[in-house]
């Protein structure tokens, strides 16, 4: 009896040992096979339009380059911050992926040493001639091309529900300044039962992007750029905050408890008149057959910011010490092509950053946005969406706004925002 038990116990131990060794070997194998061709792309688009978009992009790429193998790895959890942590850990252990989803611009400073120059290989004359100046600047880290932007979401939009505006007697095309929006909100609150300005305030991001849009209106492109370079004019910063404080009077009373999706649904249901958001808000509208562009809803450039296309972009950077150098460059070149960008943006609801894309496959709203983009005088980078300021400054700005949401103290927040750069 005991003998047999002893044998079986030893067997179990041997088995466990073999398994452990095999497991260790497996770990080693992962980082060892760097010679292979397969592309490892990390992204956080695990559902919805983002997932459809990246799927369409990869399908298109594999059709064009059937020889390149793809190991797509969506990072579960679906939050960009989570993806950043995964990439951080990978880079710390010197095991970078081929590429990953990231904001371009100053966000690149977070992993600055990990990127490599792709000017020439990917950023050839074709890309340089066809990207407008704004997106092209954002693809560079200290003057070196390291990433390929593949879509643009506009931030300075004001979406509206046509029926609510009609019943309030407000014509959106007559609004020309942030103050006009506040006046229109007052009219709507008097004439209708709808909430004038849908907004969520449990997180700070919606308020930061609203403020940056109004700052662009108050300070113009020069005032906006001097703020993002650390020389902001306090009175402009405060004027923009004052305008946000005035608008906050017209928020839903439960703004702090709802999410962006719920705020956006209020506009779709006719419970709210306006919403300021990136143009991903329109993605939800296109899913509703009874809520159509030009009929039930419309969009104007946020009053006071005409001529600017406030950029929020996603991009795929090239990492040094790349596990699949040639394949990655092939893929990034495809991301930089008009064909790939149209496939991606058709699903994503954004527009291609290339000015020569054939957008006839995109919907009418996207085509109108694309026309605005190509006719824009300037394409300033978004502060909230990581393009305009380095991550540490973005954190300071987020802190300032988390205080602003508690107190709506424009003066103190203006000081904190100017201080964010020191």
């Amino acid at each position: 009896m005991t003998d047999r038990e002893g044998v079986s116990r030893r067997r179990v131990l041997q088995g466990a040992g073999v398994a452990a060794v095999a497991g260790l070997a497996g770990c080693g194998g992962d980082s060892g096979d760097s010679g292979t061709n397969s592309i490892e792309l990390l992204h956080a688009w695990s559902d919805g339009d983002g997932n459809a978009a990246v799927g369409a992009l990869i399908d298109g790429f594999q059709e064009a380059h059937p020889d390149v193998e793809f190991a797509e790895e969506p990072v579960n959890g679906a939050a960009r911050s989570n993806l950043d942590q995964v990439v951080t850990n990978r880079l710390q252990s010197n095991n970078p992926p081929s590429t990953f989803q990231t904001w371009p611009g100053k966000t690149l400073e977070k992993f600055s040493d990990a990127y490599a120059d792709i000017e020439g290989d990917v950023w050839n004359d074709d890309l340089k001639n066809n990207y407008l100046e704004g997106p092209q600047t954002q693809a560079q880290l200290d003057g070196t091309y390291v990433t390929v932007p593949l879509n643009i979401h506009r931030i300075n939009n004001l979406f509206y529900n046509q029926n609510v505006l009609d019943s309030a007697g407000v014509d959106p095309s007559t609004l020309s300044s942030p103050a006009d929006v506040v006046d229109a909100c007052e009219t709507i609150s008097q004439e209708t039962d709808a909430v004038p300005f849908a907004q969520q305030t449990s997180g700070a991001w919606s308020t930061v992007q609203l403020w940056e849009t109004i700052l662009l209106a108050e300070g113009g492109i020069d005032g906006y750029e001097s703020f993002t370079s650390g020389n902001g004019n306090r009175s402009e910063v405060k004027a923009a905050l004052d305008s946000v404080v005035e608008l906050s009077e017209y928020y839903p009373s439960d703004a702090s408890s709802i999410s962006f999706t719920e705020a956006n649904t209020m506009v779709m249901d006719g419970d709210a008149a306006f919403i300021h958001q990136g143009d991903w808000a329109a993605g939800a509208y296109s899913g509703d057959d009874s809520f159509n562009y030009g009929e039930q809803w419309g969009q104007i450039t946020y009053p006071g910011t005409s001529g600017s296309y406030l950029l929020n972009m996603d991009s795929f950077p090239y990492l040094a010490n790349n596990p699949s150098p040639e394949a990655t460059k092939t893929f990034l070149s495809y991301c930089g092509s008009a064909e790939g960008q149209v496939l991606f943006n058709k699903e994503k609801g954004s527009i291609p950053p290339r000015s020569d894309a054939d957008v006839s496959q995109l919907n009418q709203f996207q085509q109108d946005q694309y026309e605005d983009f190509n006719n824009a005088d300037n394409q300033p980078p978004s502060i909230q969406h990581g393009l305009a300021v380095s991550p540490a400054i973005a954190t300071n700005i987020g802190s300032a706004f988390s205080g602003f949401l508690e107190s709506y103290d424009a003066g103190a927040t203006a000081d904190a925002l100017i201080d964010a750069f020191n």
Binding site: K110, A392, I393, S402, E406, S407
Partner: protein, 335 residues
């Protein structure tokens, strides 16, 4: 389970005895080797050594490494420079200023430290009081006792992410249950989630809801351990119900209180998940706790060394709560 172990124990010394009797080893080495090998601590090594090593490396090793990291200037990617260690991060944490590893000024941690202490003390006190009350009520041999116990304990099985989203809805000024209840007694809709005066209290309240069931279970076990004769003797001596609990029963619940307190405070120190699900990285100055600040510094800004320094402060706070408990258990011979 026990039987094979006993057999094994009986067999091991038996084998050694045969070997000594056989005299296969020389006298001197046999003496030295034998006394060392036959020590209890050595003979039981297979049982205590692996867990000790594992805990030593993965728990204490990690804590030690974190402390070491907090003395460096490590930011961003690459490897930390362990060559130049100093307490700069702790100076910055308590005084603020511009550290050598940053171009930006860094705020001291006093605000989040204060919020953490308020949250821990407020949450733990209310949670224990409520848990005790529930335990006494459930202990009255009521009908459906098991059902009630399960209902009270159930919130603890939910993750912080679920409860945070749930309470975001509960606090909604228009449709949330809290404001409907307040409205019923004539208090108009109150903004709670972004109200600087109520934020931290609202978070503590939600945590109390989640963990008072745990305090109840611990107290219930404590109450059940008290012999009925104590209740009866108090009754015979003419004590009222309140007096009986206050003077006779509650003093006997000391161990239950301390062990529940330790677990609850550690939960409150780690309330990061809850705040993150509710507010994201930035809970705002009136609700920012050390855990949220630490994650912001480390993962948003890549200031690993400074984040480690905040983690060490958090660790010392947890230690300050746990160690008196461990010490008192040790003094009472319970360890």
């Amino acid at each position: 389970m026990r039987n094979p172990l006993q057999i094994l124990q009986r067999r091991l010394p038996g084998r050694r005895e045969t070997r000594t009797d056989g005299g296969t080893a020389s006298a001197s080495t046999a003496d030295g080797g034998e006394s060392f090998l036959s020590r209890d601590s050595v003979r039981s090594a297979p049982f205590w050594l692996p867990p000790t090593l594992l805990i030593g490396v993965f728990v204490y090793g990690a804590i030690g490494w974190n402390v070491l990291l907090s003395l460096t200037d490590f930011t961003g990617l690459g490897t930390p420079d362990y060559g130049s260690l100093d307490f700069e991060n702790y100076v910055v944490a308590f005084q603020g200023g511009t550290p050598s590893w940053s171009e930006l000024t860094v705020d001291p941690i006093w605000n989040s430290l204060g919020n953490t202490v308020v949250l821990v003390v407020g949450f733990a006190a209310v949670c224990l009081a409520l848990g005790l009350l529930l335990a006494i009520l459930v202990d009255q041999e009521i009908r459906f006792e098991n059902t009630f116990r399960t209902i009270y304990l159930l919130p603890m099985s939910l993750s912080f992410v679920v409860t945070a989203k749930f309470w975001l809805y509960m606090y909604n000024p228009q449709t949330g249950l809290i404001n409907i209840a307040l409205g019923a007694v004539g208090i108009g809709p109150v903004e709670i989630v972004q109200n600087p005066d109520l934020k931290l209290a609202a978070i503590a309240f939600a945590l109390v809801w989640q963990f008072s069931g745990y305090a109840m279970v611990v107290y219930l076990a404590g109450l059940r351990a008290i012999p009925d004769s104590h209740f009866e003797a108090a009754r015979v001596d003419g004590a009222s119900t309140v007096k009986m609990y206050w003077r006779v029963i509650i003093p006997q619940l000391r161990t239950a209180t301390v062990s529940a307190l330790v677990v609850l405070t550690v939960f409150a120190l780690k309330a990061f998940d809850f705040l993150f699900s509710m507010y994201g990285y930035q809970p705002g100055p009136s609700a920012d706790i050390l855990a949220t600040r630490m994650v912001r510094e480390a993962y948003s800004n890549g200031n690993w060394a400074y984040g480690s320094a905040i983690a060490v402060v958090l660790f010392l706070m947890a230690l300050a709560i746990v160690s008196p408990y461990i010490y008192s258990q040790y003094k009472r011979g319970a360890l």
